[in-house]
């Protein structure tokens, strides 16, 4: 055994250069795979820590009308109050109402922006977590009590026992009656404070669909039939309340463990994951790993060719195929294990930046979860089997005599070349994809937006601040500043969410009702946002007609089927007839990735909205914030300015594309490194093999220049073949991805050719040093080598 090990280390030491390249390539590949796999394991682990996970479902109502279907994650309160008593298969029911972040006061201290969830007493029966103090029986039972997490307890009460202590939330006093361990990050929701729903009248009596609703199905009951009973019963409840007028209702149940990755509703309690991004990252991980492994095999075989003599000697001395295979298998395994250890270290360094990039925090316990450990072990075994068996199989079958007779061996150069071509194909495709994604992002950014989001500041004052109630005076004061071009206000943020409403042309039936998005704005906002007027006019200041008018976008005009001029026609909204006074060009308030949805601008305004101002382009965001702050402070001395920038909102719509760009980009760079390392090694080997040929050519008078050209021609040939395969593949992949976009570039020939050219240049760069070395060396040296 000792002899066996020392043989391995000696023969590895003997081939140091190859070894370093080999380990580096494989370690990088493994590191990336580990990082990506951890993300995948984290995504797959969501909500699996709850002990009753297999019996919990969430109820999602489906609303269908002429405009299409919409799946909601929230239900009526009666789904909790009335429904369970009719279905014996339900063990317990819990509803969650997600409140806005709140400030919590204790004595003189204020703790800001804590996340509350309003819920029912059975919460912990469904979502079990450890109690630090207090008990499951009394937690959430009485009104005006709260449950807080250990983190919040520490924050508010330090090391004191929080039980029985009072806190003030929204001017109401609550008693803490339990402290629980915060839920792991891989839970589809999160909270700082739990408040019983029945503590708050306006929530408990809410008549609309407001509540995330979970049912725990009785053990032994048929899940399918219980779920069917739930959806049928809910359909009855909701139809009785909101049915008719062309709207029909249905419902589905979603298993707890599917909520994160397979969220069907348009929003959820937490930030959803997507199975497609998990698949994307898993396949990237696989691709890079495959690249690294093929590289490893290639290098090992190429290096093995130079060990043909050793193999021959061993065979002449009675070494059997099995013994030699075992020897090479062990050598390769030793290298893989070293690379794996280095890879794990590298993964440790890579993990944080990568997860920041995709804006994800990994739940620490996932690292030690059986799933992840199994993933890692599988990865190791998979890598060993793939990397070590082919070289072992191939090398151990070298014939002994061919080596001694120095006859030209029918070597497996074809295999080596095929691998090199395969690697080039992968890198060319990745480079193409990255170029296409980049051009598409640039294109989307430059799509005419229909408005100008630059130099627009939006301020949402606290509803209790005097600024809210004194809009007119704020506006006048702001307008006095010479750098402020215009001031207006809207209940909505342009580029942010809109209010979902219905609309129909005046004098048409209810079956003509259509869904539409509404922005409620004050006069002047259209001018401030620089919308483009197609016809008619905007809302006029101080006109009694303004309140009875609407401005539509082109998509809305089209949806309503208005032919000819829209101005002067009437529509019905909120039960009132309103006159169309203007039409604006479609502006991208949603992502330009999608077509613009119909939008109506109305002129109604409470005191709850954002104040908009357009400022001088010469000012920076910080400058303008400093300049307007005194204006707000004059009205509200405690005013805290939290400006929202309209252009930030707009560019945030590209986040998904940008993070995809960054991840694919990083993967591309890494695969390039691996592939170029491989190419470098293969090329140096093949140049070495041709030492004698090169010597003879030089003796015959061939110049170094033409020798370099000859050696480089090989590389170019490989990549040309790769290019022929890669171009259609990348064209297909790019078009598949681009088809998701309403506004898309067409794939230029330039985008397809450039990666091939780039690959050639990089490959030539990687191999030039070697070509130079062998072609300039003294031919005598090469020939004496015999």
């Amino acid at each position: 055994m000792r002899r066996f090990l020392s043989n391995i280390t000696r023969s590895l030491r003997h081939n140091k250069g190859f070894l370093i390249i080999n380990i580096a390539g494989l370690a990088i590949g493994l590191a990336v795979s580990v990082v990506l796999l951890l993300f995948v394991a984290n995504e797959l682990s969501y909500d699996r820590h709850f002990s009753r996970k297999d019996r919990i479902v969430q109820l999602n109502p489906i609303e269908t009308d002429a405009g299409g279907s919409k799946i909601w994650p929230i239900c009526l309160r009666s789904a909790y109050q009335d429904l369970p008593s009719k279905i014996p298969g339900i063990e317990s029911t819990v509803q969650i109402f997600k409140g806005w972040a709140m400030n919590v006061n204790r004595d003189q201290d204020q703790f800001r922006d804590l996340q509350p969830l309003y819920t029912d007493p059975d919460f912990f029966g469904m979502f079990d977590t450890d109690f630090i103090s207090g008990s499951r029986e009394i937690a959430l039972r009485d009104p005006n009590t709260v449950v807080i997490t250990d983190r919040i307890s520490k924050m508010i009460f330090g090391n004191m026992d929080a039980i029985g202590k009072a806190v003030t939330i929204e001017e109401k006093i609550y008693t803490v009656n339990a402290v629980v361990k915060a839920l792991p990050l891989n839970t589809h929701f999160t909270f700082d404070i739990l408040i019983p729903i029945h503590s708050t009248d306006w929530i408990a009596k809410a008549g609309g669909q407001e509540f995330f609703t979970y049912y725990l199905i009785r053990e032994g009951a048929s899940q399918t039939s219980v779920c069917q009973a739930i959806t049928a019963e809910y359909k009855r409840l909701i139809t009785a309340k909101f049915g008719g007028d062309g709207t029909t209702w249905d419902a589905i149940t979603v298993k707890l463990t599917d909520l994160h990755l397979y969220q069907k509703s348009s929003f959820g309690l937490g930030k959803p994951g997507s199975i497609s991004s998990v698949l994307l990252l898993a396949s990237l991980a696989f691709l890079i790993l495959l690249l690294a492994i093929t590289n490893f095999i290639n290098l090992f075989i190429v290096q093995g060719n130079s060990r043909a003599l050793e193999i021959g000697i061993r065979k002449a001395n009675g070494g059997g195929v099995g013994q030699l295979a075992l020897q090479f298998f062990s050598e390769a395994t030793a290298v893989v294990i070293v690379a794996f250890v280095i890879g794990l270290g590298l993964a440790n360094l890579l993990a944080e930046p990568v997860y920041n990039l995709i804006d994800k925090t990994i739940e620490p316990s996932v690292l030690f979860s059986p799933l992840f450990i199994l993933c890692i072990i599988t990865l190791l075994i998979f890598t060993i089997i793939l990397s070590a068996s082919y070289p072992a199989f191939y090398l151990s079958r070298f014939g002994a005599i061919e080596v001694f007779k120095k006859s030209p061996r029918s070597s497996k150069r074809g295999f080596t070349k095929a691998i090199t071509v395969f690697q080039s194909v992968i890198t060319i495709v990745l480079i193409t994809v990255i170029l296409v994604v980049n051009s598409q992002i640039r294109y989307l950014r430059n799509v005419p937006k229909g408005y100008n989001p630059d130099q627009v500041m939006m301020v949402i004052p606290d509803s209790k601040s005097p600024v809210s109630s004194h809009y007119q005076s704020v506006k006048e004061n702001l307008e006095k500043l010479p750098v402020v071009e215009r001031v207006s206000a809207s209940q909505h943020l342009v580029g942010g969410g809109a209010s979902g409403q219905v609309i129909n042309l005046y004098n048409t039936g209810v079956d003509q009702t259509r869904k539409i998005n509404e922005y409620r704005v004050l006069p002047g906002l259209c001018e401030l946002m620089k919308f483009e007027l197609v016809e008619g006019q905007y809302f006029a200041e101080n006109s009694p007609r303004t309140k009875e008018s609407v401005v539509l976008n082109e998509a809305a005009v089209k949806m309503l089927g208005i032919t000819g001029s829209a101005v002067g026609q009437k529509v019905v909204m909120h039960g009132n007839p309103l006159e169309i006074i203007g039409v604006v060009r479609d502006f991208y308030y949603t992502s330009p990735a999608r077509a613009v949805d119909p939008m109506v601008l109305t002129s109604s305004w409470g005191n709850d909205g954002a104040i908009y101002l357009r400022y001088d382009p010469s000012l920076s965001k910080a400058d303008i914030a400093n300049m307007v702050l005194p204006v707000f402070r004059k009205i509200d001395p405690d005013f805290i300015l939290n400006p929202i920038w309209c252009d930030d909102l707009y560019y945030a719509k590209f986040e998904k594309e940008l993070s995809m760009y960054e991840i694919v980009g990083a993967s591309t760079v890494l695969s390039l490194i691996i592939a170029l390392l491989g190419l470098f090694a293969i090329h140096s080997y093949s140049a070495l093999q041709r030492t004698k040929e090169i010597g003879i050519r030089k003796v015959c008078g061939e110049s170094s220049g033409s020798l370099i050209a000859m050696l480089s021609a090989d590389v170019i040939r490989w990549i040309a073949v790769a290019g022929i395969i890669a171009v259609p593949v990348s064209l297909f992949a790019a078009n598949q991805w681009l088809d998701n976009y309403a506004n898309r570039i067409s794939v230029d020939w330039f985008l397809l050719i450039l990666p091939v050219v780039l690959e050639v240049i990089l490959a030539l760069g990687a191999t030039l040093a070697i070509s130079l070395k062998v072609s300039t060396q003294n031919p005598v040296k090469a020939l004496r080598y015999e």
Binding site: N7, E310, I313, A316, N317, G318, I401, F404, K405
Partner: protein, 226 residues
């Protein structure tokens, strides 16, 4: 009979032609013989040697080793035959560069499946016999050519083969060193090992008891030396 070739051919099909390396070889070699095979380059000497050592296979005809038809025994048995009855030495010595003298000699014993303690004894005996005890931890590159060939011989006979095949064992050596090696081969032959050597050197060929000359893949003469 130790070795018996019956109508043996070795050829390669290249395109439309069939290139014969060996053609119609009929040859018997008895146990205890010392045979030298001579002939010009490309006459098929080495091929014949490798076929005898079961590292290569004939294209036609039959090869009997210890009266057993080699082509009819399976791969596993052939490796067993090779391991237990055949030792090889080469012109270029072919020691494994990454192994010490000791380990090189030990290699065939490991492949033979010999136990550690016994292996140690055998290697020690070999080192002793060839006066290389002091050099056992050196690597081949630290030895002279003659010494390397000694190690190669020690390795070849460590497993106590019946047959020692030598492919120009003196080709890379000075005459003095060559003589030394040939004396050693004679000595081994006297101890009962059958030796077949391929050589270009008339003088060294005469160390053998029998000289076979090959021309264009055929035996042109087969004489006994006095």
């Amino acid at each position: 009979m130790l070795i018996s070739f019956k109508d043996l051919d070795k050829f390669y099909d290249t395109g439309f032609q069939r290139a014969f390396i060996l053609k119609g070889i009929n040859l018997d070699i008895a146990e205890g013989e010392f045979v030298s095979i001579m002939g010009p380059s490309g006459a098929g000497k080495s091929t014949l040697l490798y076929i005898a050592g079961m590292l290569d296979e004939p294209s036609a005809g039959e090869y009997y080793f210890l009266d057993q038809p080699v082509s009819k025994i399976n791969e596993k048995k052939r490796v067993e035959f090779h391991r237990h009855y055949v030792g090889f030495i080469f012109q270029a010595f072919h020691l494994i560069e990454e192994m010490t003298v000791y380990e090189n000699i030990e290699t065939p014993l490991v492949y033979k499946g010999m136990k550690g303690s016994l292996r140690q004894a055998v290697v020690a005996e070999m080192l002793d016999r060839f006066n290389m005890v002091a050099k056992k931890d050196l690597f081949p590159s630290q030895l002279s050519g003659g010494q390397q060939q000694l190690v190669a011989i020690a390795r070849a006979i460590a497993g106590k083969p019946k047959l020692l095949l030598a492919d120009e064992p003196t080709g890379n050596l000075h005459t003095d060193q060559g003589k030394q090696i040939m004396d050693l081969l004679v000595q081994l032959n006297n101890e009962g090992i059958t030796i077949v050597q391929v050589t270009h050197n008339e003088q060294f060929a005469r160390y053998g008891k029998r000289i076979i000359r090959l021309t264009d893949g055929m035996i042109s003469s087969d004489t006994r030396t006095v």
